[in-house]
Amino acid sequence: MKSNDKLLKDLAPKKFGKLGVIWTCLLIVIIIAGVIAYIDQLIKGQIVTNMRDYALWGIYISNFVFFVATSFVGSVTVAILRLTKNTWRTPVVRIAEIIALAAIIMAGITIMIDMARPDRLLNLFIHARIQSPITWDVIIIPTYIALSFLLLYFPLLPDLAILREHFKKDKPTLSKWYGKLSLNWKGSKAQKNIQSKSIQIIALMIIPVGLILQTIDAWLFSTTYRIGWDSTNLGPYFIAGAFVAGIGALVTVVYIIRRVYKLEDYITNFHFDKLGKLLVLACLTYLYFNINEYLIPAFTATEDEAIHLNTLFTGHYAPLFWFVTIGGLILPIIILLFKKGRKPLPMFLIGLIVVIASWWKRYLIVTPTLLHPFLPIQGVPESWHHYFPSVHEWLITSATLAMALLIITILVRYLPIIPIQRTADEQEELLKTNKNAEQ
């Protein structure tokens, strides 16, 4: 019981300090600015963006791809690590689930921002053509939202029951809410049975659904004829990219939460070490697919392919390309191969670079291809030969990122970031095995 009290004290959700309030207010301000910009876009049309007939997709789409990729962290951490029996994952699973849920919800919202006629949203359901990759996207995203939510909720039930008890005295209304959400959890054998069976089903389902989600996202590009998109490599390429983006985001958020909530006892250097090794694995896989995507086409390039590779290697997009590849991929691999590199602070910095590089990588996937179509760009204003997002696009995109962070913040504020019941169970297990060992 004593250890349980300590657990509760450390892990129960706490009120926001000054920093927390400032952080939340900042996010809300960014979101409001974005909403105003979006309303302006609805009134004036997408002419307020810098997208035109050639650069017909811009950062709305690359932002969308980024969110979809980041949401893969749920599948990886929770399901894959679970099925491979990596028990060290316990302290980080909830954070991973929260990030995944926030990312996939924002993916759904972001793609609607790119639609020029959101008033005709229902057409996507009434007149849906299943031959279209967009329809596949419309199906898979809600599916993944549902599964991510269930993956967060089922393991949460025991913790909600604990919190109901914990807050009964000081915060009765909060306690009542926790109680309602805990669905009468009493820890009975029957309930535990249903819960563990369900979690096992979800874990098994979310891996293929997660893989399908990333693949369909890739197929939005590879079902066209365009150079740079029409690649047989794109499906696995996006999956590996999601692996990297997801874990990078996880590492970054874990470090921040650990610092703010002082959870050094629970998320130790050991965990960072393991996460670091996982990130290296992800980056190596992604590097392999990058080589297949960029280096090998350079070997026998058609003229169109050569134009595409040149803009990336030595042309207009070269600085960005090399930042993303070296800074976001090769550097992490090198640093994380050393034990010192897998300490918390370097991990955080690497995680941050990986996330930023992941966002700009998707920009490099979407924009350059659109600016070298098969037929020359003629008969349109000079500005249409280039693309850089407008103020509206930046404001709206920042708002979506802020909204994702806000969802994470709110969930972190009200939910135990580290599963309390599970940690308690694991500690009990540990005590038992120690006792047995001694005897």
Partner: protein, 290 residues
């Protein structure tokens, strides 16, 4: 001195006259100057079909050709120096009008069996009056298709109805009806021989709906006879086969014709996954109840 004075007075008078006359003219010119119209008319006779006049009225206003719409025209038949009114018509929005004769008997030819028509425009506030004469003799084209030594031909004879005389040395055009513009069979102009006939071989492999082709033998805008057209139906075409994929299940068809594997497989996947999700949600309710 006096001479100079007189001279000045005369100059003054002349000057004044000049000014007065110009002002008179400009006064006169304030009345609207009427524009000229151009009347174009074509007499067209379809064998065993309509006989009509195709009238087009245009005017050149401010250096641009415009169509004159909504004006009234009267058609007269000139017989023995008498003008008999045949009918009236009004031009449509495109400045055109089609005046159909109930039959050729409604108008009378003169002694030389030439028909003389006048289209008269009485004029209005904007346009001057105008008239156009149309002179023609009645002629028939008898056309048919024949097959000789397994080659198809169009044969046509030009006959003057007056004495049933054969008209030679006229340019006929043989064409097959197509959308937008007809396709010529043989040369564009084929001259009738001394028997007033032409014989044109039809090239192979002309497609037609159900193999039916509609040929036309046309005497186009001749000076003496106007335009005469004979229509010949011949089932000697290659039947058209509809090759469109509209009725097939393809990747680009509307949703009611999706390919079967896309209908079955994805739906199977979706239903099984969502079936499991619903089962999981029911599990949540089970937990609540237990």
């Amino acid at each position: 001195m006096k001479n100079q004075l007189n001279f000045n007075l005369i100059l003054l008078a002349l000057f004044g006259l000049l000014l007065f006359s110009t002002s008179f003219q400009s006064l006169h010119a304030q009345k609207v100057k009427k524009e000229k119209v151009r009347l174009k008319a074509q007499y067209i006779k379809i064998m065993d079909g309509e006989i009509y006049l195709n009238i087009k009225v245009t005017a050149r206003v401010k250096r641009k050709n415009i169509k004159v719409s909504n004006i009234d025209l009267t058609i007269y038949n000139k017989v023995n120096n008498k003008k008999i009114k045949v009918g009236e018509t009004t031009t449509n929005i495109d400045g055109e009008s089609k005046f159909v004769f109930k039959s050729l008997n409604s108008i009378k030819p003169d002694s030389t069996n030439t028909y003389n028509l006048v289209i008269l425009f009485k004029g209005n506030d904007i346009f001057k009056k105008a008239k156009k004469n149309i002179v023609f003799k009645d002629v028939n084209i008898r056309a048919k298709f024949i097959t000789k030594d397994s080659i198809n031909y169009i044969s046509a004879t030009l006959i003057d109805t007056n004495k049933d005389s054969l008209v030679g040395n006229q340019s006929l055009t043989v064409q097959v009806q197509r959308i937008f513009q007809p396709l010529f069979i043989g040369e564009e102009f084929i001259i009738t021989d001394e028997n007033g006939t032409i014989l044109v071989p039809i090239e192979e492999g002309i497609p037609g709906i159900d193999g039916n082709l509609t040929f036309e033998v046309v005497l186009n805008d001749s000076d003496n006879f106007g335009t005469v057209k004979a229509i010949v139906e011949a089932p000697i075409g290659v039947p058209i086969v509809d090759e469109s994929t509209f009725d097939q299940r393809t990747m680009w068809s509307p949703r009611n014709k999706t390919p079967l594997f896309l209908l079955i497989l994805p739906n199977l996947l979706i239903f099984s996954i969502w079936g499991l999700i619903i089962y999981l949600i029911t599990n949540l309710f089970k937990i609540t109840k237990s």
